[in-house]
């Protein structure tokens, strides 16, 4: 068990060293939310009415954090495809480590990188006119981490079944975008038509947005449901991925 955790940490450490050598991804994670937050926030301000007490930019702020985590997590998850493409995955697969610790190590590194990208957005909070206490900031980071954990595990599960990057654009269009737009990140859920609601409620990203919005804006939400759904989702996906890895020896 302890060996397994140490193995995961080793795998995560390598991924993190790698990713800090790739600066472009980091720059992208700063530019993307700035564009969305200020252009979208300003542009849509007139058309949307944010719930009482917030500007529209403030209202979508937690959603922007989730968006950055979403992109980063899926990206990190797919780093497995790079590893496969460049042969390093074989080096990992023939090492005397349990398949579960390999999957968890990959998830851990992806989550840490994604959380850092979430923190980059969070750092903009004074600019959108929010006041956060120290405790709120800490809770937001914890929230971001479990959100990152669940989405990264999803990314890894998809990547474990992909052999090339050709399908990556498809995943972006048919998974990441719907997950984001059907999450209530940009609009209050109670205002959408009834037929759309089931889609929103089976979307784990919805609970991620609710959780972070609850912490950051102190809107009303059920923290237990939110964290519960996110963590259970992550555990299910991680188990499936581990199973895929074990069964991978055709």
């Amino acid at each position: 068990m302890i060996t397994g955790i140490l193995d995961s940490i080793t795998i995560a450490k390598r991924d993190i060293i790698r990713s800090f050598r790739q600066k472009s991804q980091l720059y992208g994670s700063i530019v993307r939310p700035v564009i969305w937050l200020f252009l979208l926030g300003t542009g849509l301000r007139g058309s949307f009415n944010a719930p009482e007490g917030f500007t529209y930019t403030q209202y979508i702020f937690p959603g922007m954090i989730v968006m950055n985590i979403l992109f980063a997590s899926i990206m990190s998850g797919t780093s497995i495809i790079w590893d496969r493409e460049f042969g390093f995955l074989k080096e990992i697969m023939v090492a005397p480590m349990s398949r579960a610790s390999i999957v968890f190590g990959k998830t851990l590194s992806g989550s840490i990188i994604a959380t850092i990208q979430g923190i980059i957005v969070l750092a903009f909070f004074p600019l959108v006119g929010l006041h956060l206490s120290f405790i709120q900031i800490i809770l937001t980071m914890l929230g971001m981490f479990i959100v990152a954990l669940s989405i990264t595990s999803l990314g890894i599960m998809i990547a474990s079944k992909m052999t090339s990057f050709e399908g990556f654009g498809t995943i972006n269009n048919f998974l990441v975008m719907p997950l984001f737009f059907l999450s209530g990140a940009l609009y209050p859920i109670d205002r959408v038509p009834a037929w759309l609601k089931p889609l929103i409620y089976i979307n784990p990203v919805t609970y991620s947005v609710n959780l972070l919005r609850g912490i950051v804006l102190k809107t009303e939400t059920n923290y237990l449901t939110d964290t519960g759904v996110i963590i259970i989702f992550a555990l299910i996906i991680l188990s499936i991925t581990t199973y895929i890895f074990v069964k991978d020896r055709k």
Binding site: T10, R21, F86, G87, E91, I92, A95, M97
Partner: protein, 324 residues
């Protein structure tokens, strides 16, 4: 002691029987070579032995651990140089070795020493702080060799260790490997389709279409042919081959504008050929049999013939590009 034991090993991919009931043993400390054309089943056997591929039937043990039931024990016992590159090119040489040591649970206090020793062995100590992406193909290969031995495995598997490298680099790589055997008494299990490289093996198993068709020392295999080969250039190769058939009842073969005559003793037979030729022979040479000839005798064709297919050429050139 047998460090590798394989009995009636079987593996199919759909309809294709890649490995058909193969059995062999490898002794501790020997260099054992699997030789055969592409698609003979060599890599499939290696993949099964190092636990990344599931076998369909038979048994295989390494260091007395079953490759199916004791996967992690087997993984600890082997080092692997894959056919395709498998380094993390964004990490430095040192980091690649460091993470490998961690993956294989080398005790922390030993890691630094082991890394430095294996880098010394492949002459890469000077470059240890460099990012691997800048390395040449040969350097990457050497680094992979260093990595393969850092956790002191019992058996080092090398799947086509010199594929895609230029001839000079190939020579160096073999030098390092022979050095390694002499210094560390390590068992090596390698595959290659370069016949001349197989000569360094203590024993060779020749594979074709998923079967082992011969298994012996290189010397014995060559001796089994019992033939020298006289290579002739004549004014009319076809006509002369008919003449040789008539006079001596010997089947000759054509090769690149030359005529090859297999005989038991080249030195004494050559004058007889001159006698019947009456000035038609333009040049003559006597060749001792090579492993290539052994392969031709066993299968009736050359080992490289299949290799020259378009797809393989593409594959090789892709590999070469990745390695540079």
């Amino acid at each position: 002691m047998n460090i590798i034991h394989v009995e009636k090993l079987k593996k199919s991919f759909g309809e294709i029987k890649a490995v058909k009931e193969v059995s062999f043993d490898v002794e501790e400390g020997e260099i054992f070579g699997l030789l055969g054309p592409n698609g003979a089943g060599k890599s499939t056997i290696i993949k099964i032995l190092v636990t990344i591929l599931k076998k369909d039937g038979g048994t295989a043990t390494i260091n007395n651990f079953d490759v199916e039931k004791e996967q992690n024990k087997v993984r600890e016992s082997v080092g692997i140089i894959f056919q395709d590159p498998s380094l993390d090119e964004r990490l430095t040489a040192w980091e690649n070795l460091y993470f490998h040591s961690k993956f294989y649970h080398v005790p922390s206090r030993e890691i630094k020493n082991r890394i430095n020793n294996s880098l010394d062995l492949v002459d890469l100590s000077e470059r240890k702080k460099e990012i691997v992406i800048n390395f040449s193909g040969g350097m990457k290969r050497r680094l992979e060799i260093a990595r393969g031995i850092i956790h002191t495995p019992k058996v080092l598997f090398l799947d086509e260790p010199t594929i895609g490298l230029d001839p000079q680099t190939r020579k160096y790589i073999w030098q390092y490997l022979v050095d390694l055997r002499d210094k560390q008494k390590l068992t090596m299990f390698l595959t290659t389709h370069y016949m001349e490289e197989a000569e360094i093996c203590d024993r060779i198993a020749i594979m074709d279409h998923g079967n082992i068709i011969a298994l012996d020392t290189p010397e014995n295999l060559k001796r089994s042919i019992q033939n020298d080969i006289i290579t002739l250039v004549t004014d009319n190769n076809i006509g002369f081959s008919i003449l040789v058939k008539e006079k001596f009842n010997i089947e000759t073969t054509f090769n690149n504008g030359t005529l090859e005559v297999p005989v038991s003793n080249g030195k004494t037979f050559l004058p007889k050929l001159f006698e019947i030729a009456g000035g038609r022979i333009l040049s003559a040479d006597i060749k001792k049999p090579s492993l290539e000839d052994v392969f031709i005798k066993l299968t009736g064709r050359k080992i490289r013939e299949e290799e020259a297919s378009k797809r393989d050429k593409l594959r090789d050139s892709v590999k070469r590009r990745r390695r540079t």
